[in-house]
Amino acid sequence: MSITTTVTTSDGQSNPLRAGLQSHRIADPCTIVLFGATGDLTKRMLMPALYSLRLQDLLPSDFAIVGYSRSPWSDDQFREAMKEGIAQFAQLGHPQGPVWDDFARRLSYVSGDFDDVECYRQLQHHLETDLTEFNTHGNALYYLATPPVVFGEIVRHLDLAKLGPKDTRGWCRLVIEKPFGTDLTSARALQREIEKVFPEKQIYRIDHYLGKEPVQDLMALRFSNVIFEPLWNYRYIKSVQITAAETVGVEQRGGYYERAGALRDMLQNHVINLMTLVAMEPPVSSDADALRDEKFKVLRAVRPIPSDRLDHHAVRGQYARGEIAGAAVAAYREEPDVDVESSTETYAALKLIVDNWRWGGQVPFYLRSGKRLKRKNSEIAIAFRSVPHRLFGELGDQFETNSLVVKIQPEEGISLSFNAKYPGQAMHIRSVSMDFAYGQGFGVKIAPAYERLLADAMRDDATLFTRWDAVEAAWEVVMPVLERWQSERPADFPNYAAGSQGPPAADALLAADGDSWRQL
């Protein structure tokens, strides 16, 4: 996490004026190639993040950006679309003036199919022009912001066009959006294809949840304080709930979502990744692999979900019509590009058990994610066990167990609840909470996750990116569920109303353990 990189010349000479500056981790000069440059992600997230980094002086001084997509855009159309995207989504005001002019000058566009060898020649030409015009040192960061079906194809063609790591004169890195494969077999096939061209060290599998400040703070919370870690085990923790709830439906992405579903889209990557951060052992150092080793070990320790008791560990749901914030919303099966008899899950919940020394197979990790739920809320909630003996409190006092909640979005912060005496003659006990809100707590603006992750990839810090072994292990965890759900049509879909807490079966999953979900 705290790798310090200063700008270094090929002969090892670095800029001593950089040492100790806020931007001392600034990246090497490079060209960023955005595959899928006309898409939603580029416009809404990537380009605003890059421009914001530029304004904060966190991009290398010598850089260029090449967009690549099938739409027949010119360089100027690309610049115009990106300018609109930045104006709309970056919260930086309208891009203008010499800084924007300079940024725009560095944008160019290649139009073509991702399997067209000729287009890769054009891309090569752009990279060479950037090298001479913008002094990019032949370094390239390829960002695959395309539908996953073309990931393999792009990598193969980069190699054919001699634009891969073994042929380029500078460094060469690949950033891949999720999902990585659609199941274990396809993920392995994709990995085989990619590793033929890019060594693991140069592959950055992005999970934007990991770029969020509270998620990183979870590590700080655990490993920079003495008050939590001694309690962080089965003796004091009763259960862990990780929630990624959305109020939005599938919007314009019905086609994609039909093939994905909540398990693949959210649980297998974002939510399981969060779980590994909660459950892992302290890494031996703050470097990328030390952390990723520990995350991987957690996944190896997850007890396989038994096929004969699968329903005791996994629940799926699909939203029916309902109401969100007072407005009527359609059922999933009524969304554009969705099959009227679709059996795709828009809600998934898992109960996982970790069999290792720390968790002793005794602490359920409840994971849930769903669309069209009552409230947008992503959080990690650690529920502690009860006190061994109830000494205080009048009859009828509600005694809540301690909980620690890491709020990821929309609020970002940490909340710790504990019991205190209610003022008065009697010894009434009430639960109170201590809240820490990011931004407010430090009086600073929180940077969007993509800013952090793009900058990290440029400066070769893979800490917040997922390594292949963890991707594979996460698929192994969910495969029994995925296979069952694919082979058995759900009898009860749709089974939760839009705007509700989710399907009743999910409540039953926790009720069986005497537990319940935190209210959304």
């Binding site: 700008v7 270094t8 010349t9 090929s10 000479q13 670095s14 800029n15 001593p16 004026l17 950089r18 040492a19 100790g20 500056l21 806020q22 931007s23 600034i26 000069p29 530029r54 304004l55 904060q56 002086d57 290398p60 001084s61 010598d62 003036g97 010499p98 800084v99 002019d101 300079d102 002094n135 040192h137 809100a437 931004g439 407010q440 430090f442 009086g443 600073v444």
Partner: protein, 331 residues
């Protein structure tokens, strides 16, 4: 108004709030003390101080040495922070800087007990008993050498304070204002083919409204490049024994930096404010003339002060640069 009356007034305010007549949580996580020496200075800064108090949940204590015989005042003000309404208590206290002991005693009484206290010291000289006493109460202190009547002497005095108390969390606004210029200077040498020129610098020129920023910026470059102080006066000596001259070109308002220029091996590397461009970075030599615009990250005074008082802290670069600055200015 006596301290007892002020305390009673604060109690009354709290009661008003607990009766629900003031909507919002009372800020009570720290005390922000702003001490101004000159007449009218507080009036200019009190709005910034209020916003900082709201954002960081602080009781605000305004000490005004320029207020003449006016009376103390207690009030509350509310604002939004992190989506919530926060109300802060404000005590404005005219002080007699000539009686530091009683001012310090009052501040001790009026600061929230057991909670951190932050001091923004505006305008006054740095070698007096009042700053020493208030400084001892404060967890962090911000001063401004470029507003002192003799910035060079103030920088030397500040260095003396930090040498006596190396762990003091004390910041100079002049140093904080230089932060974006340190970035700009570094940018000039990010191109790996230029980094080598840093070993051949012959002259550093800084144009600014006050000597404080110029000297701190030059000294920071000196620290990064391991310079020592050289004769003749106000120049540096490199590790290989070469002399690097320092010139302060007067220009701009107090606190403003307009340009930094380095001469090395026949080339000139400069960053200067230029209208629409923001800051123009240029490199000029016989065979090369390159320039480009960089955005200047504008930070409001309150963001800069709040960053120093409530932010991360711990910038070892400051004490090193200040040390070299003091030696440079004494030379």
């Amino acid at each position: 108004m006596s301290v007892e009356t002020i305390v009673a007034e604060l109690h009354r305010l709290r009661e008003t709030q607990s009766e629900g007549r003031v909507m919002g949580a009372t800020a009570s996580t720290s005390t922000l003390v702003v001490c101004a020496a000159g007449a009218g200075e507080l009036a200019v800064l009190s709005e910034s101080a209020r916003r900082m108090a709201i954002a960081h949940g602080a009781r605000l204590l305004l000490l005004d040495a320029g207020a003449g015989g006016s009376a103390a005042r207690v009030c509350a003000f509310c604002g939004r922070a992190g989506g919530e309404t926060v109300c802060c208590e404000e005590i404005a206290l005219p002080i007699d800087a000539g009686r530091p002991a009683s001012v310090i005693a009052d501040v001790e009484e009026l600061a929230l007990p057991g909670l951190p206290c932050y001091l923004w010291w505006v305008g006054g000289e740095l070698d007096g008993a009042l700053l020493r006493g208030l400084g001892a109460l404060a967890r962090r202190i911000v001063v401004d050498t470029s507003r002192c009547s003799d910035p060079a002497a103030s920088l030397v005095a500040l260095d003396a304070i930090l040498s006596r108390q190396p762990h003091a969390q004390l910041w100079d606004l002049a140093w904080l204002r230089v932060a974006p210029w340190r970035e700009m200077a570094a940018r000039l040498f990010d191109d790996p083919t230029r980094a080598g020129a840093l070993t051949h610098i012959e002259a550093i020129e800084v144009e600014s409204g006050s000597l404080a920023e110029a000297a701190l910026l030059a000294a920071w470059i000196g620290v990064q490049l391991n310079y020592e102080i050289s004769e003749p006066a106000r120049s540096f000596r490199t590790g290989s024994g070469a002399t690097v001259t320092f010139s302060h070109l007067s220009g701009g308002a107090p606190g403003e930096v307009r340009m930094v220029r380095l001469h090395a091996a026949g080339a000139t590397y400069s960053a200067h404010v230029e209208g629409d461009c923001g800051v123009r970075l240029s490199v000029e030599s016989e065979g090369e003339r390159r320039s480009r615009c960089e955005p200047m990250l504008e930070r409001s005074l309150e963001d800069v002060v709040a960053g120093a008082l409530f932010g991360l802290g711990g910038d070892p670069g400051f004490s090193r640069a200040l040390g070299l600055t003091a030696r440079l200015l004494r030379a």
